[in-house]
């Protein structure tokens, strides 16, 4: 029988649809009877969504500026030299 602790261990797999039919069904049955686990699944789902909306991968503008400068310099180096005679 699936206990609350077992469910907590595979809750992310359930949320992401990574479980097989049987396991997923046993979680659904457990959730029908267990308010605390329903709450936990809801909490974990919201935690995942917090990350989705969060610009967690932000980097400093200084880093972007340094990279832009280096890319610009590399692009300049690739340009053929100007030939005003043509």
């Amino acid at each position: 029988m699936l206990m609350c602790r077992d469910l907590a261990g595979i809750a992310s797999d359930y949320i992401d649809g990574e479980l097989g039919f049987g396991k997923s069904l046993s979680i659904k049955v457990h959730l029908m009877m267990c308010k605390d686990c329903r709450s936990f699944i809801g909490n974990l789902r919201m935690s995942a969504r917090l990350m989705q909306g969060h610009s967690s991968a932000r980097v400093d503008g200084d880093v972007i500026d340094r990279i832009q400068d280096r890319v610009t310099a590399a692009l300049e180096e690739r340009k053929p030299p100007n030939n005003p005679g043509q």
């Binding site: 206990m3 609350c4 602790r5 077992d6 907590a8 261990g9 595979i10 809750a11 992310s12 797999d13 992401d16 990574e18 605390d36 686990c37 709450s39 936990f40 809801g42 909490n43 974990l44 919201m46 935690s47 995942a48 969504r49 917090l50 990350m51 989705q52 909306g53 969060h54 610009s55 967690s56 991968a57 932000r58 980097v59 880093v63 972007i64 340094r66 990279i67 832009q68 280096r70 890319v71 610009t72 590399a74 692009l75 690739r78």
Partner: protein, 205 residues
């Protein structure tokens, strides 16, 4: 991050192939954050920027060979991952990973020996995730806790959740098995949940 004049992906790729400087500016501002997340999975933070800079210089030429079999984002992330792996091979540095238990110890302690909850979740979400994130203090707290996650978990979480990569792509980019990725994601989400629960109850981060 995109601006009203931003090119869509197909036009951006074509402009990159022409060596268009404004296209590179757009690509750098849109994709550097994700590339840094990949680099930080493999190398220390001080080396990550150097790796990503080198990758962008490589991209100037390599974009000619991009055939569109994956998204530009996935292609760029793979370039970073490959460069990091080469660097690790030459330095013999090992990646520190913890793929042991599925449950965070702090959460595991909240169950009775019978396997039922002893201390059930106390968090109540009355608002959407977007509304919650408008709380600046909570957003700062999330930043702080993300910064404290092991690099492996943070990178997996950011690539999967924030950058919306498929599991298969994250495994490929980070060179981890599907089961290890599942554990990393689950452990990271539990930490976020525990953090938000404490924040909501105490107002403290």
């Amino acid at each position: 991050m995109s601006t009203p004049n931003a090119l869509d992906e197909q036009n951006l790729i074509e402009a990159l192939k022409r060596g268009d400087q404004s296209a590179f500016e757009q690509a750098v501002s849109e994709h550097t954050a994700g590339m840094m997340s990949v680099a930080r999975f493999y190398v220390d933070p001080s080396s990550a920027e150097e790796v990503v800079q080198d990758c962008w210089v490589t991209v100037i030429e390599a974009i000619q060979r991009f055939e569109g079999r994956s998204s530009l984002k996935t292609w760029l992330h793979r370039i970073v991952a490959n460069r990091c792996k080469n660097r690790l091979r030459t330095s013999n540095r090992e990646i520190n990973t913890d793929f042991s238990e599925a449950l965070e110890p702090e959460l595991d302690n909240r169950f009775k020996p019978s396997g039922r909850w002893a201390t059930p979740p106390r968090l109540r979400f009355d608002e959407s995730a977007d509304a919650l994130m408008e709380n600046g203090a909570l957003s700062d707290c999330l930043d702080k806790h993300l910064g404290q996650l092991p690099e492996t978990q943070r990178s997996a979480l950011i690539l999967y959740e924030a950058h919306q990569h498929k599991s298969e792509d994250v495994c490929n980019i980070l060179d981890v098995s599907a089961s290890n990725l599942r554990v990393m994601l689950h452990r990271a989400r539990q930490k976020i949940f525990l953090m938000v629960e404490t924040f909501q109850e105490t107002g403290e981060c």
